[in-house]
């Protein structure tokens, strides 16, 4: 069954985004990536956050969950641990992930669960009508705060294994990055973090600006995405030049969370036979030390 074929369940619905919203580009690239990779839809769960971006899960015939504001990562991690066979994609906004969900973001980076995390970064709170988000530039809506740089944060945590940034206005690169992210996670290599610049045309239209300022770091053949220290330095320098580094920025190795936590990742917790009948003897062993 393909992603666009409709069986006896819900019919996917186009999110009610403003015409021209960057999130359409993210949705298109995601659909393309899932189709190209032939990921079985019923083994895929898309976890949305709360925000305009969080509605992305409505338009795909995969399992969809609309989590609480900022809590998509813990939810996605719970899903992955319960059933590591699933393709788990968490997708939300920058307010969702870097403000209210900031603590979960740090711990997800540290734990390295094999899920994809896609942030639709527009520098604003679209859904609540344009307040500055943690990635807003100084001066946007009068903000006097230094913006948060998620890529540097991700690079600074030693157990991260996949750090990338795309731009909704660059479909070819974005499709490539989403595919790489899904493959990374599905190979059990860990947390695939992909920040996507996705302009909010209504409150913070940054299309023109980002077309000019984004640089594809992978275009430079001397850029080695496996050398964390050098990547950090190059990303930092690029930012200081007033440019925004994009591309597959870092790829490394570290044990995945599920491989560390689960005794037998091959037999998912979620699909175990729970009937107590065959386990009574095992249960009785639990009692022994209380006699």
């Amino acid at each position: 069954m393909g992603v666009s074929e409709v069986p006896k369940v819900f019919t996917p619905q186009t999110p009610i985004w403003c015409p021209g919203c960057g999130d359409f580009g993210v949705l298109a690239a995601l659909k393309k990536a899932l189709n190209d990779l032939k990921i079985p839809p019923h083994e895929t769960i898309l976890v949305g956050g709360i925000g305009c971006s969080g509605h992305i899960h409505n338009d795909l015939l995969v399992y969809g969950y609309h989590s609480l504001h900022g809590r998509l990562l813990p939810t996605a991690i719970g899903i992955k641990l319960a059933n590591p066979r699933l393709t788990v994609i968490a997708a939300g906004g920058d307010g969702d992930g870097y403000a209210i969900g900031g603590n979960h973001f740090l711990h997800a980076l540290r734990r390295n669960p094999s899920i994809v995390y896609l942030v639709m970064n527009n520098g604003t709170y679209g859904l609540t009508k344009g307040q500055p988000s943690p990635t807003a530039q100084i001066g946007f809506e009068g903000t006097k705060e230094i913006p948060f740089e998620p890529i540097l944060t991700a690079l600074s945590i030693r157990s991260t294994t996949f750090v990338a940034r795309g731009f909704s206005g660059n479909q070819v690169q974005l499709q490539f990055l989403i595919k790489e992210a899904i493959q990374h996670a599905n190979a059990g290599k860990g947390f695939a973090f992909l920040d996507v610049l996705s302009p909010c045309v209504t409150y913070n239209d940054t299309y023109a600006e980002w077309r000019k300022s984004t640089v594809d770091m992978n275009a430079d053949k001397s850029f080695d995405p496996t050398n964390r220290a050098l990547v950090f330095e190059r990303v930092l320098n690029t930012l200081q030049e007033g440019k925004i580094p994009t591309g597959l920025l870092y790829k490394g190795e570290s044990p995945s969370f599920e491989s560390m936590q689960l005794k037998d990742p091959a037999s998912p917790i979620a699909t175990q036979d729970l009937t107590p009948a065959g386990k009574i003897e095992e249960f009785k062993k639990l009692i022994a030390r209380y006699r």
């Binding site: 995969v62 399992y63 609309h66 813990p74 939810t75 095992e282 209380y290």
Partner: protein, 597 residues
Amino acid sequence: MSSTQTTEVSEPRVVHLEDLKVMVGGQGGDGTLTVINLLSHALKQIGAYTYDTRNVLSRIRGGHADGVLRASVRPILSIGDGLDVLVAFDEEAVEVAKEQLLDHAVVIYDNSHSQLKTVLKPTVKVYSAKFGEIAGLELKKTLLKNTVSFAVLCRVLGLADQLAEEAINWRYARRGGDVLQSNLQALKIGFRLADQLGVKPSISFPKTEPKQGLIQITGDEAVGMGFIAGGGRFYAGYPITPASEILEYLQANLPKFNGVALQAEDEISAINMALGASLAGARAMVATSGPGQDLMTEGLGQAGMAEIPLVIVEVQRAGPSTGMPTKHEQSDVNHVVFAGHGDFPRLVVAPADASDCFYLTVDALNLAEKYQLPVFILMDQALGQNTQTVPEFDFSRVNIDRGKLLTQADLNRISVYKRYEFTEDGVSPRTILGTPDGFFQVTGNEHNEWGFVSVDRINRAKIMRKRMLKVEAAKKDMPRGRVYGDQDARVGFISYGSNLGPILEAMEQLGKQGFKTKFLLLRSIYPLLEEVQEFLESVNTAFVVESNLTGQLAGLIRREYGYADKIVRINKYDGSVFRPSDIVSQTLSQLPRNGGE
């Protein structure tokens, strides 16, 4: 001055007790709980039922720690009143215990630091010795004073030396040679000191065959075991007293059953992880106490709105805010019943002893999946952390009911699958992730039957009712309360949780004074069941007993059923559990002049 001394008593006497209360007190780290643990094991071997608690009497100063062990020839669920023996590693412990010491009490005092200055009743016998100093000199380990004192304690109680030795073996065999050997040596030193002190058995407890089929376990551990037996495979928590033991128990044991117990970065994360695991198809649970429940409230509403099965254990402690983290209270009834914005369904069950903790955890897992909502297991510090003697759990009684869970085979038989389909009992069939034709949209936004966000007025009203209907439907499956005492009594008690033990003992004492009483032990707190009304109808006065200031359970009952004229509150909120005497005195002082008749 010699290192040992005994107060002069005119005549040796032996007090025979069928109900023995021993307190061991000192500074945190003195190993007081180890002595309790050893004695509890030894007494179980001679047929006693035990109940022990930690810290219950601790007051003001930071470092003080104590444990109380009660042993009886019959099952008990309370620390009772009074103390027969005190082992004190410092003066403060004696001060703390002083008022509780009975006339025939024996005090074993470690005078390594100072001679005992506290003035005690002249009938109290005191054995003083430098347990710590001697352990330090002879074994190079002052801490072994606990085992030294245990030896003297066993002699006071007339327990055979061999029984004491067995207890040491039982506790330390696993820890390997050195630890075991030094404790056995400490025990010998203790016996030698007892000889030097001229200790004679002065309190005796009947010796019978050890009772078969009994275990000594805490409520927290019983919940953990119930979770595993009930098919629970995903647990997430964040350390918090008095619920941490559930996390620790499951981290140690859940992997054996191919499950996982995680320590999240906070309670917000823990509950959302559990929601994710539940969506995926695992039976999931979180456990916390008041402050953690504050953070979990957001996820609670999500479980209610999105209809995701989830069990939440709330082990109450003294609030508000950080409150008194290690102290007992039952002040989160309102919190579990009312927490969260908006109207959404939930259930609250309340176990009363460790057996109940086991079986009701299984029930809660079934209820959560059958009605697709959050189910609270409401506990309290004493129930969660005190060790009690209960019958071994019967695993063959465990039954797993996953409710309307559709498999692919079920889906093959139906033409349309809507996650939030309107049904008679409000429960819509659900699927788990990975089912080929079971696609769903699940959301905490208001939604239509398909799970798509909707603000349609007709749908809204209908789906609100659908969700709430489940609480009504669940009533038939909620655990029933238990009625104790005299059916004809016109004076009744209503309570829940660890108050069970103290109330039963208070009723016995009241009975001896000529007052007939009965008692409704609630095991379903929300919704309250018709049993409450029936009980209130049958009495003239109903004392609602609870450890809080404002009478939260009494308020809940009044809100549901009225009877303001019959309901009288008995409250305690100083951080300590009810003793039977508290209930007796509050009952007598508040009883209407006609004796409630």
